[in-house]
Every structure is written in structure tokens, then in C-alpha cells.
């Protein structure tokens, strides 16, 4: 091939040139000449860019959803419900029952992975009369501060008080000793203490539930689980059963188990059997909604896998554009020769084919981004999620298509520029 020697330009011959508008017009015409081929070529970039944006959008959306309801607390909590005999119908369900064994706390806490466990239920159907005086509450100068209605009384095993993750505001929790002796002691929530005007436990204050006195041994400042306990009075489980009988069917007992991270599913499977080896079906364990921590890490590795796939699709799209442009160059050799004879310089030819492939890539990028946004929105809508699309990854996505096109068009454009007009015109 003859390489031109660089020579000074001739002053009398104005050089040929190609305006930007002509360049775009010629490239667009080249693309529109073969719409079917253009569509197929664009498809590769469309899929690549689309997969890229959709994966980023979907994972961001899903992760936002997961992190909104994912907490360590929820992941380490198992609830065991007392569902009674499942096959006995209305009669059994109507009767008060307590399916947990006496040593329920200890049985579950022995399981590997369980930390604390305890049973609880609401004692009274109707709000009991709770006050710091033995008699019926009578309005005094200090108003209602010493008596309150509408407080809830919970029977709670000593294990439960530990399982809720308590912060003590004063005194101590009652323990197995109090429970087994069926002692009249109570732990109250901080809100109740404020309500009843109980500040210090030094004087061993008492409160009366429907006239029965209970010594307040501790005040719960805060709890991590079952926050309604802060508005309640807790009495030992066996005391409650001795005084008021088994829980009513509407307020059936439940067990709260605090587990170690990752052990919740295991404990949920084991707890009913550990509690009632004879009748495990009378108890129903509710594990956390799903093992989110695990899911999250799995999603993370899936992310990179999908992104890799998107990258591969993009590479295939690039090769597709390169192939189409190369075929187009070979097919249009005559046209290239003609254009050279009409005054086109090699750079004009190269620019035209480069613009064509860049336009193809941009078209694919735009369509791919649009499609992937629709996909992300649809998926989010179907799951009632909030769609999350990062503008920093979504908006420049069509440019990925442009880059793909430029990259793909480089070699064919070079080939086209090197075509000798003499040979091209011989065809």
C-alpha cells in the first residue's frame, strides 16, 4: 500500500470537507437504510445496558426493602404460640389452657442457640383496677395519680423478663424463687410507675390489682422487645395461675425466645419438641420473617454475578455492532469508492462509519435504559416496594452504549478509511 508522504497543501485547491450536519445526515441515512439489521444490532447493546441498569436498580430497590425491615432484634427472636389441640374443635378452644410445662424456660434455655426464654400472657380480659391503695380508688387532692384504670397486667415467667432485653430503672427482676413460691411481687413498666406515682422502691411500695396487694420489686426503664410491657404490670407466671387460673383462650400464652444471631430458624424447629415432646403440635413456633442476614449476603454475591452477566452481554453487543459495521463496510465498498471519487478523504469515511456505530450504540443504550427503568418500576410495583434508581448510574447509562458503539466502530472505520478508491470502483 502506498503511504502518502506529508506535503504542504496547495494554495489554489480548496480542500474538501464534511460539515457536522452532513456527517450526521449521512450516518443516519446509513442506519435507516437497513432497519431490520439496525434493530438486531441495537438489540445487543439494548440487552447489555438494560441488564446493567435493571440489575443496579433492582438490587438497590430490593436492598432498600430488606434493610427497612431487617434488624438484628427481629432476626434473633422466635415466638412460640400456644395453639392448643388442633383437632378438637370449638370445645377445646373455648377452655382455658396452658400447654407449656412448668420448667418451660429452662427447657428452651438449655437448647444450643437460645439465650433467654419465657412465657407470658395477658391476665385479665377487662382492664383490672390497679392502684396503690387497698380500697376502691377515690378522687383525692392529688387527683388520679394514685390509681389508674386501663393498665394491662401480664403474667410473665422470670425468663421472659430477661428475654425482652430489659433496662432496669430501679430494684430487680423477680426470679424463679418468687415464681415457684407464687409470691405476690410485681415488676412494673416505667410509664406505670410514673402513672402511679411510684418513684423509689426503698419503701417497698405495694400496688393493688383488684384489691390484691403486690410488692413492686422492680421498674423496667426500657425494653428491646414487647414495648407494651412498659405500660403494664408483670406478675410471676405461677402466681398468676394460682390466683387467676390458666390463660383464657383469647389471651393464650406465648413464649418469647431470644436466640443467638443465625440460630432463630434452628430454635424455631426445636422449641416445640423441647417443650412438649408428647404434643409438639400444640405449640407453634414463629421464626423471624426470613433469614435476612443470609439473604443479604447472597444478594450481594448475586449482584456481582448479574453485573458480570451484564458486562458479558455488553461485550456481545459490542462484537455485534463491530460485526455489523464491518459487514456494512465490506458491503458498501463500492459506495466508499464512490465517495472517495467525489472528494471524500479517508477521515471523512472513517468519521461516517464511526458515527454510524456510535449512533447504533447510543440508540441501544437509550432503549436499554428505558426498558430497564420500566422493568424496575414494574417489579417494585408488583411487590409494593419503593423503586430506587440511582441517577448517577441511570442517567449516564446511554453513554455506555455510545462508548460501546465507538469502541465497536473503531476497527471497521479504520478498514473503511484504508479502502483504495481504485480497487473499490472496479467492482
Amino acid at each position: 500500500m502506498r503511504r502518502p508522504v506529508r506535503r504542504p497543501r496547495h494554495p489554489d485547491v480548496p480542500g474538501t470537507r464534511m460539515t457536522a450536519r452532513d456527517l450526521v445526515a449521512e450516518s443516519v441515512a446509513g442506519i435507516l437504510q437497513r432497519p431490520a439489521r439496525t434493530a438486531l444490532t441495537v438489540l445487543g447493546t439494548l440487552l447489555g445496558v438494560g441488564a446493567f441498569v435493571a440489575i443496579l436498580g433492582l438490587t438497590a430497590t430490593a436492598r432498600g426493602q430488606i434493610s427497612s425491615d431487617f434488624t438484628v432484634l427481629a432476626a434473633t427472636q422466635v415466638t412460640v404460640k400456644d395453639v392448643g389441640a388442633p383437632d378438637q374443635g370449638g370445645q377445646a378452644a373455648a377452655a382455658a389452657r396452658y400447654e407449656f410445662p412448668d420448667d418451660a424456660d429452662q427447657r428452651v434455655e438449655r437448647l444450643n442457640g437460645a439465650v433467654h426464654a419465657g412465657t407470658y400472657w395477658q391476665v385479665f380480659k377487662t382492664p383490672p383496677d390497679v392502684s396503690t391503695r387497698s380500697g376502691p380508688a377515690i378522687g383525692t387532692a392529688s387527683g388520679d395519680t394514685q390509681g389508674a384504670e386501663g393498665l394491662t397486667v401480664y403474667a410473665a415467667s422470670p425468663g421472659l423478663l430477661r428475654a425482652v432485653g430489659p433496662t432496669l430503672g430501679g430494684g430487680a427482676l423477680y426470679n424463679t424463687f418468687h415464681d415457684s413460691r407464687r409470691m405476690h411481687v410485681a415488676v412494673i413498666g416505667s410509664a406505670v410507675a410514673r402513672h402511679l406515682g411510684i418513684g423509689s422502691l426503698a419503701a417497698r411500695p405495694a400496688l393493688f390489682i383488684n384489691g390484691t396487694p403486690y410488692t413492686v420489686v422492680g421498674i423496667l426503664q426500657d425494653v428491646e422487645r414487647l414495648p407494651n410491657l412498659l405500660l403494664s404490670v408483670m406478675i410471676p407466671e405461677r402466681t398468676a395461675r394460682a390466683d387467676y387460673g390458666d390463660p383464657a383462650p383469647d389471651y393464650a400464652a406465648a413464649m418469647l425466645i431470644q436466640t443467638r444471631v443465625g440460630a432463630a430458624q434452628l430454635i424455631a424447629r426445636q422449641a416445640p419438641l423441647a417443650l412438649r415432646p408428647d404434643r409438639p403440635d400444640h405449640l407453634q413456633a414463629v421464626p423471624p420473617p426470613s433469614p435476612h442476614a443470609l439473604q443479604d449476603s447472597v444478594t450481594g454475591s448475586l449482584d456481582s454475578l448479574f453485573l458480570l452477566l451484564a458486562g458479558i452481554t455488553l461485550v456481545i453487543g459490542t462484537v455485534g455492532i463491530a460485526n455489523t459495521t464491518l459487514v456494512s463496510v465490506l458491503e458498501r465498498t463500492g459506495e466508499i469508492g464512490l465517495r472517495r471519487s467525489l472528494g471524500a478523504r479517508p477521515r471523512h469515511i472513517a468519521a461516517q462509519f464511526l458515527t454510524e456505530s456510535a449512533a447504533l450504540g447510543t440508540l441501544g443504550g437509550l432503549l436499554g435504559t428505558a426498558v430497564s427503568i420500566v422493568v424496575t418500576l414494574s417489579v417494585a410495583l408488583a411487590h409494593h416496594w419503593t423503586a430506587i434508581l440511582d441517577p448517577w448510574t441511570t442517567l449516564p447509562a446511554p453513554l455506555i452504549g455510545t462508548l460501546t458503539g465507538l469502541l465497536a466502530g473503531a476497527y471497521p472505520a479504520l478498514r473503511a478509511a484504508r479502502i483504495e478508491p481504485a480497487e473499490a470502483l472496479r467492482r
Binding site: 472517495r340 467525489l342 471523512h348 478508491p421 481504485a422 470502483l425
Partner: protein, 287 residues
């Protein structure tokens, strides 16, 4: 081998003459050239240093030769002298393999001679940069091919307008100029027809209009009737006759004696060697 075309300036006699040419362009109103836009910037041919230079020559070949490197080297065009004057109608005949295509490529500036000089409109093309050769080709030469080379998805007018792209003709002038060129070849009724809807003769005339639209100094036709039936070929040749009668300088390369016979002057190539047809010379009427 002597390759003047590759020599850097200032080297050859022609190269030395170039600055003088450009200095003479403006102040010499005495030299009247044809009202050809290609001649606007023509240097005064009197300043020409080459032997045998004619006052109104469009093509001047002085010992121009083209050898394809071997082994063995092929002397496609042996050293050739040829002068084509403005308004001439020249046919280049010869069997295939005689060097017609090589001569066409050299004259059409798609190939460089490996020896001798080639002056187009008085401009020595040897020392020109490739971009200038391309510019000369686009502005001063209209090429017509045997295979038409029309773009299949564009109408006749759009095909003609393609020639204006690389000269950056203002867009508002393009369509009217293209239509004028189509009218000049008698295709006023086919302005918006696609090539697939046209006969071969009509296609070739669209190609001729495309070659004419930039008003070149020279219309260079390569086997213009090679793909046509005799009736269509006759129409095309009539068109070329009419154009030449209107002042266009024509060089037609053909192996068809009937086509060559219509030219006013005919030369024959044989094995790269050029010979003038003496009988034709008498009837030749260079304007």
C-alpha cells in the same frame, strides 16, 4: 526508478514553478479562459515550465508511467505523453488488459503515476498532498462508472446531491443545482425515482448528472455503456454528445468501437503503449 511524484518540494522543475503560478493568478486578465468554475484559480499556463504545454489544456501527461511493483514488475502504462484541450471529446479504446483502467486511474487522480508528470488544469499533481489530490478529484473531475455506483435507497436527486456533501455546498443551493444537473441529462421527469425503478440508461444518466453537478473541468467516463443495451447506450451517448457540444471536456474509456467512433478524437492503448488514431485527428475539433 525515478519517482518525481514522491520528491519533496522544492525539487523538480514543476515544483519550482508553483510559487510563480500562484503569484500570476490575479494580475493577468489578458489570458481569457473558458467560463469554467474550475478555471477560476487557474495559473497562467504561460508560466508553465513543462515542454509541450498548451494554453487551454485540461490534461497534460508528460512521460507519465505507471508500473506495478513485481516481481515481475508490470508496466501497465508505459511513459505516455497526452494532452487533452478544453472542450475536447476523446475516446480511449483498447482491449482489456491494455492499460485503459490504469490510465483512467491516473487521470482520475485515484492512482499516482510512478514516473513522469501529470498536470490537471495546469496544476502539477505530482507533488500534491493526498488531501489536495482528493480535493482536485472532487472539484475538477466528474467520474462516471460502468457500474453506475448509485446508492439504492436514495432518489435520483438525492444521489446527485451526494456529490455536494464533500464540497460543503450550502444546503439551500444543493437541491436546485442537483435538479439543474438532472435536467441537463434529460431526466427532469425522474427526479424522485429510486434507482431500482429506473432503466439502466436512466441510472447512467443520473450518474452523469452527479458527475456534472460540481461543474468539473473534465468528465471522465469509464465504459459508460458497458452495462447497457444498445438502445439505452445510444441515449447515454447522445447525452454525452450534447454535453460536449455544450462545452464539457469529455474523456471516454471504452472497448466498444461504436462508442469510440462518436468521439472527435480517438487514441488506442495496446500493452500500455498509446497510439493516436490518425484518421480521427483530422475530424477532431478541439474548441
Amino acid at each position: 526508478m525515478k519517482i518525481p511524484g514522491r520528491r519533496r518540494r522544492p525539487a523538480g522543475p514543476a515544483a519550482e514553478a508553483l510559487p510563480a503560478q500562484s503569484a500570476d493568478v490575479l494580475p493577468d486578465p489578458g489570458v481569457e479562459v473558458l467560463p469554467d468554475p474550475g478555471a477560476d484559480a487557474l495559473p497562467d499556463p504561460g508560466a508553465d515550465a513543462l515542454p509541450g504545454a498548451a494554453v487551454d489544456a485540461v490534461i497534460e501527461l508528460a512521460a507519465a508511467a505507471r508500473t506495478y511493483p513485481g516481481p515481475p514488475p508490470v508496466h501497465a502504462l508505459r511513459p505516455t505523453d497526452l494532452t487533452v484541450r478544453r472542450g475536447e471529446y476523446l475516446a480511449v479504446a483498447g482491449p482489456s488488459g491494455s492499460g485503459k483502467s490504469t490510465l483512467l486511474n491516473v487521470i482520475g487522480l485515484v492512482d499516482r503515476p510512478t514516473g513522469g508528470h501529470y498536470r490537471l488544469d495546469g496544476i502539477d499533481t505530482g507533488p500534491l498532498a493526498e488531501a489536495d489530490r482528493t480535493a482536485l478529484r472532487g472539484r475538477r473531475i466528474g467520474l462516471v462508472f460502468q457500474a453506475f455506483h448509485l446508492l439504492p435507497y436514495r432518489t435520483a436527486t438525492e444521489n446527485v446531491m451526494l456529490a455536494q456533501v464533500y464540497l460543503a455546498t450550502p444546503r439551500d443551493r444543493r437541491r436546485t443545482e442537483a435538479v439543474d444537473a438532472l435536467l441537463a441529462v434529460g431526466l427532469g421527469h425522474r427526479l424522485d425515482a429510486l434507482p431500482s425503478a429506473m432503466s439502466g440508461g436512466e441510472r447512467q444518466r443520473v450518474a452523469i448528472a452527479r458527475a456534472l453537478v460540481n461543474r468539473p473541468s473534465l468528465l471522465l467516463c469509464d465504459e459508460p455503456t458497458g452495462n447497457l443495451d444498445s438502445a439505452s447506450a445510444a441515449r447515454v451517448m447522445d447525452t454525452l454528445d450534447a454535453l460536449n457540444a455544450g462545452g464539457i471536456t469529455l474523456v471516454v474509456i471504452t472497448h466498444d468501437p461504436a462508442v469510440a467512433a462518436r468521439a472527435h478524437r480517438s487514441i488506442t492503448l495496446r500493452d500500455g503503449q498509446l497510439s493516436e488514431d490518425e484518421t480521427k485527428l483530422s475530424t477532431g475539433r478541439p474548441r
